[in-house]
Each structure stands twice: as C-alpha cells, then as structure tokens.
Amino acid sequence: MSFNLKDILTPFTAWSRVVKEPVTIKDPFTREAAPRYRGFHDNDVQLCIGCGSCEAICENQAIDLVPIEGVEGIETKSGDSGLRPSIDYGRCCWCALCVDICTTDSLRLTNAYTWVDTDPDNFIFTPGVTPKDWYEKEEGWRKPGHGYEFYSHERVHMEELHADERKDSFIEFVKGYSAEQAKKEADRCVACGICTATCPAHMGIPEYIKAVRDDDMEHGMKILYETNPLPEICGRICTHKCEDVCSVGFKNGSDPLSIRWLKRYIADQIPADVDKYKDMLGTGEIAKNDKKVAIIGSGPAGLSAAHYLALLGYNCTIFEKLPQAGGMMRYGIPSYRLPYDQIDKDVDYILSLGVDIKYNVNVGTDITLEQLSKDFDAVYAGTGLHLGRSTRIPGSEHENVYQSVDLLRNIVTGAPVPVEKKVVVIGGGNVAMDITRSMARLQMEKFGEVNVIATSLEDEEHMPADREEVVEAREEGCTIIPGYGPQEVVITDGKVTGLRVWKCLSIFDETGAFNPKFDEADERIFEGDMVIESIGQGMDLSYLSEEIKSKIEFGPRGRILVNEDWQAKGLPWLFIGGDIIEGPDVIHGIANGHRGAQSIDKFLNEGR
C-alpha cells in the first residue's frame, strides 16, 4: 500500500467538532412529540356511541368494548350501545386505524407517549373514562382528511321519479337500486350491529347487507325471513329506526346507510313465485300439528304471527274485516309508496304456508271472540289502529273536516274521496304526509295543480315524519308549515274556509305532559276548503265483549295490558300485538307478531 500523508492527516479534521456545542436535547423528559404524533388514546365519551368499529378494525384485538353504566358524568344517548372501547396496551401497535375508522370522530390519539409501570396488568384502560393525564393534550393524531376516508360518507343516490312526473300518479316513484348501486351502498356498512339492537324485530341487518355485497340474494332472503316475513313491504315503508341510529350516518355531513332500500333490493331480486320462495327458504314441507290458532286482523302483526305459527306447524286462520289482506299497510299507505302487488307478493307466500284467511269477517259482529276461543286453542289479536283521532278544536265537527285514515282507506277501496281546491292537513307525522301527498295527487288529477298545506305542532327539526317524506312532499308542491297549533276551523257561511293557527312555542311542559304553549301574537290562517285531521289514530276495541273486557286489564289511554309473553293480563289464550300495543309502526307490528307466535307456541306446548 502506497504511503499517503493526506490519508493520515485528513481524518484529524474531525477534531474541529470538539469546539461545537453539544446537540443533545437538554431535557428529554418533557419533550413534546410532533403535532401529528400517534401517542396514547383519548376518547370523547360523550360523543362516542360504542359502535365497535374500532374493535373490528384492530388487527391486534387490542380493543374491548366495556359497559360504561354507572360511570359518573357519562350519559348514553339514542343510538348509543352503552359500551366504550377499552384498550389493551399489551396489544396496541399505535397504527391509529381505530381513529381513522371511528364513525363519530370521538377517538383520537394524543401526542403523549410515556407510560412506565411495574405491573403489566395495569396497561388496560378505557380512554376518556380512566383518568389519565394526557387527555388535556390538544395535539395528536386525528383523521387526516384530504380525501382520506375508510368508507364512503355519502349514500348512493336512489333514483326516483322527478316530482313533476310523480305528483300526478300513484305509481311507485322510488326506483330501487341496481345491483351495482346496492353493492356500493352495502359496502359502506361497518357491521356494528347498533341497527340490529335498535330494530324491534332485531333483523340481522349487517348479515343481509353482507349478503348484498356477496351477491347472495337467497342467503339474504333467509336472513330476512328469520325475523321479518314481510321484506317487500318493510323494504319500502319501514320506519327504519335502524337508519336513525346507523353509526355510519352519525357524524354531521354523512348519510346513514339506506338499510331499507337494501332490504328492498334483496326482496326485489327474488321473483314473485311462491314455489321459489319455499324452495329458497326451505319451507316446502312443514310438519303440521293439530293445534289451531285464530288471528284477528291481517296487518303486519297478524301476518307475522301467522307466518311464524305456520312455520311451527300450527293451523292458523286469519279473520279480516276488509276484503283484502294487509291491514293498514294496504289501506293506510298510498300505493306510490307501497304498490299493492308487492303486498300481494309477501302475503301470498305467507298464505301459501297453509294459512287460512277469511275476508270480510268482522270479529265481534260476524263471530264473537268467545266463539273463537272455543274453536281455537289460542287467539292472536292484531287489530291495529283504524280510528282517526280528532283535534276537537272548534269547527272540527264540520262535515268537510275529515280523518286521514278514512280518506286513505277510501282511496284504496275506491270509495269516493272528496277533493277540494285548497286542502289543509293538520299533523306532522308520516300519515299526515301520506294524506298530504295523496291529496296533492288527487288535486293534480282533478284540477291540474297542487294546493295543500300541512301544519304541525312540532317545528321543522322535530317533525315526527321521516325527513325524506317532508322533502318529497315539498318537491311535489305541497306546502308544509311546521310549528303551528290549530285553534279553530274557520267556517264561513257553513263552509270550511280555513284553519286558524297560533305559533307553537313548546309542546310539553316541565313535567313532560302534553301541554302546548302558543304565541297568540303570531296567528295565521291557512286557507282551505277542507281540513284533514291526521294527528294520530285510535283503536277500535268493539270486538271485545263486556265479559272479556271485565276480565282483562287496561292501562292508561285505554291500552290493553299484556304480560311479557304478550298475553292479555287475565286471559291466557288471548295474545295481543301490533299497533294497539306499540303504536303505529309496521316493524313493531312484525316484531310483535313474531314474539306473539313464539309465546303462543310456548303457551300451547306448556299444556302438553
């Protein structure tokens, strides 16, 4: 090797570093991490709904969901599972996928990073609940934004007829999803199950959505029929409490999953062929037993009870007052929302399971309940709410003041329906919207223009009707003015000319009782030639004889009390369900029917 003086001397230049100040961090113990640092977890427990998406995405199974009941200062809210994530720092890898998927944006990582302990069992904590000193740190990892999202926050747009096309006909205007759209929509699901818990029927929503993704409609139908025998109907008109709590739509600016449309999509894919249904659901052969059950009313509760009882082998007979099955679903809901052939599709299948139905039989007059109890082993009553409730304001007895229930029924049965040029509807519920929009269509047919005003006590945000119903009604030209309380039907010269209303300030008083307060200064008169009341329905219990009425117990507002097996208290063979217990709601009716069927099964088997 040749001798090179440069190679010996040059390295010594490194000594020039000795005069430089050390670059060591003076106090490493209090050093702040970067603003985006993924340190220890914090959870805004008030915001969190315990959906468990974090648990699902955690690849290390580091997250458990633990109940927070009894923890001071934390209240559970609607759509809140009552659970909160607890994190095992013996598993966590601080990838922050839990933060990125968090449906409520409640979970975040602070930039704290020091946790030293001698006991390995201590490293489990519930962020936001277990007191830790890093919660006050503002900085840390949050969702990055800039187009970064783990699931789409926007619902796939459902195609429907334009308001101008639909407002003059009763043709179903929601077109339904195509396969591609349905899959895309189904893809948004995080399978948290809050919908399942909220749904009265506890439908296996995540599972059937998964079936949509997998394109396995038959499996989807099986799941639907496990808890709901009326998928076509429910897929259209369900009150979708599931969507209200859907964790995907929890955050501002994001839409909940359209669970209802996906259900409809599954049901729509199967053609209306009873044999195919039986084949698919495996109900071709049902071992029959000799027990007989009478079912009063063919509404959702009755049909549901009949379906599940038939599957269990019971001989069911439905007694229906009206000429066609379906109850309120057929006679209360306009066909632009629920076409009759879809009702028939579901009903036909249930009837094909060996359910007998007797139309135009009015229990109480044509046949007494006592007679039924003798002829049958058990009776299920799902008679529903078919009586309109009046506001009882001055002028409401006028003949041009109608009940929405009656009008809707008349539209279906073909009985003449009075249509005036100007219509005022009192009520802000779904039925009110139905009648509003139905009247609008009739007006279009008759006069070529729409002039309907609907008003409700509740203000815009608290209207009980579904949001899209209100929007669609407005699209169709109806005027909806929420927040006013009706005071008087203005009658001029014996004719209804309008409705006088006051601005409603509050509906309930401090005790929570119904006691609306009005601002008398803000008075308006809605002009109208007819007024339709749609503020709720009442039940018709005329089929109960006095003897039976004396045996069973009644609760407040005339409701029949039932025990947890849905038996009327006092009469073990009488099972009650549907709207007369739960109020007007199709899914509750279906759930009641299902439970009723199971209770009847239990009741009839106990004797053996």
């Binding site: 090797m1 230049t13 490194a14 970067a34 690849e59 990582l109 948004r188």
Partner: protein, 398 residues
Amino acid sequence: MINKFLGFKPDEKLLPSQTVTEDTEIDLSSHKYQKIWLGPNHPGVTGNMAIELTVQGTTVMRAKTHVGYLHRGFEKLIERRLFVQGFPTSIRMCVAEPDTNEYFIARSTEELSGYADAVPEYANWLRMLSLEMARLAGLLRGVPGQGGTFALGIGVQWGVYLRDLILDRFEELSGARVYHMYIIPGGVRGALPDGFKERMEDNLRDIDDFIIRIKKLMFHNSVFKQRAKGLAVITPEMVDKYGIVGTNARCCGVKRDVRKDNPYLYYDKLDFDPPTATDGDVYSRTWIRWQELIQTVDLIRQIMAKMPKKGDIRCKMPNVLNWKIPKGETYVRLESGRGEMGMYYVTDGSDKPRRINLRGPSYNHAISVLEHMLIGQDVADVHAIMVSLQTCPPEIER
C-alpha cells in the same frame, strides 16, 4: 524503499496466511479448530442473528448463518388479517427501512384490485418522499456504520444524530418515529405539514456538511483503506449466481437498480444515475453508499421541488372492513437501500390475502453470500463484511 531494505515485498503480509476455500477439509475432532458463535448476543452482529464460525486461530474456516431469532411469522399473520390490517403488520418486517414493506402491501393490493391508477398523484409523490427519506435514514446509519465496524465510532455518532433529525421529519409527516405506517392501500395517511420543506431543507444542509465530514473521516483515512480495500470482494460472476442485488451488485460494476430498470412511482421523472464501482470490495461498497447518500439528498430535493402543492392523499376505495380482492397474484418490487426488495402477493377472492412472501435482499446476502465470503477471512473482519453486505435479519426470517 524501507520495505525493500528490510526484505519485504510490498504486498506480502508479515504473517503467513493460508488460503481457505469452501472445499477445505475440516476435521473437527482434530482439536485444531474451534467453534465460536458470533451472536445472537454480540454487539457485532447486525440485529438479532448469529453466525456459527469454525475457526482455526482467527481464520474462519466455515460459517453458518443462523436466523429465526426474530421470526414472528408475518406471512402467516398477514394471512389472518384484512387487507388494510396488513400494512401495520408488514412494516415491522424490517426495522431499518420499514416504509418499503408498506409500499408492497399497498401497491400489491391496489394492483390486484384494479385501483393502481386511481392513487392520487400527490399521494404517490408523498410515497416517494417517504421512501427516499427512509433510504436516507438507512444510509445515515449505514455509511458511517461501516466505519463503526472498524471501531471508527465517531462517524456513527454523527450519522445517528442526523438520522434522528430525519426521524423527526418522519414524525411530523407520518406521526411516528420508526414504524411510520404511512403508506396505506390507496394512498398515504397524511399531507405534507406546513413548513415541512423548510425544516427538511435545514436538515439536508446539515447532512450536506456531514457528507463532506464523513468523506474526510473515512475515505481519506489510511487505516480505513487498509482495512476495507480488498476485503470480501464480490465479482460480477457472483451476482447472478448468488442473486446479489442493489449496492452489493453495483460495487462490482453490475448496474442493477429497480428505480432505473423498472421505474415505479415517478422515479422516471427524477434525474439521477445510480453510482457504480468496479472493485467489489468493502471499500467500494461503502464508497457507493456514500455516493448514494449524496444522491438521495438530491432526490429528496428534487421530489420536494417537483411534487404538487396539495391534493387528495387517498383515492376512493371500498370500505376497508369489507374489502375483497378477486383471485390473482403479483410481484411488486422496489429498490430499497439494501437492494431490490419485492413481495409476492396472492389473493383468492376473500377479504384476506392468500399468501404473501417477502423477498428481502438479505435473504441471499446474509446466508449464501455471507457464508461464502467469510471463508478464509479473519474473525475481526466478520462484522465489517456483514455490515457491508447490509444484512438485516428480520427480512430473512420475517
């Protein structure tokens, strides 16, 4: 002159050395040989691995690489995880330069699910930035580290400090120091923070200064030259025979660089030329890496200048919890600091991969190449040779 006077030939060593090859017979029971273990508990091994050496005196007669001390079964574990869950796991397959593994998972899944072209441009530039930063961080340890193997510790101290500054930038960009978990299928997980470029430029200036200093310290150092020159030569014939890639191949004149050969991301938009050398020894490997250090600094500057100011960081993709990829297979490769890395990715239509298989350069470098090269070397050089081959055990056993 002096040598001649003393009767030495210039290139002859004072102490006689024997020539040992792979075929030299070794009779272990003859008591002429000793077995020693370099590792796993040994400061001289790169990471947690071991080399079983059979030595005579201090000459290595046989070497066997033992790995598996870091075996975690990643490939099995990722088979159990959703596609999106794969990337936090995969990143831990290599500690020193983890971003490459994230890129594989992201790129493979994107390619197999048809989203390869949907990744936003901004995200791809950020991916390149993070990959080059990782390379820089690796080189800042690796180049002076080669001096460190010969007990020139001071360069390592400077290098690791500067690496730490790069880790600070990583922390800003990705939210973590070492395991960045930054490149996600579909894009990246964070936009460039405000003022990042300025702070990065500050650090790059420090690194420029360091590059000069390390050149004076190592490459103009007579002792380093004596130790490193002629040590553990890789010949061009060996390259294909042993599957040598990256700087280890370039050190003997075989120009292999995935960034040039099969450009990925936007490497074809950057202006660079991978350095090569001809000697193939430890010195030229170090020299190439030093040149790469300059080049990487330059590349980072180019990337920061050419990248768009802002944009989306992730494309619209299916819900990560429900993401399924149709059946298929692919092989994705990139040039890491250690050479070509790649991943064989097989999907079977479910929401989890069927099989992933990482091909790390060390798989060949640390086993077949190292075992071959160590034969006949001095025990003192074993560490230097290991480091010069850039062995990284976690990517061997995974």
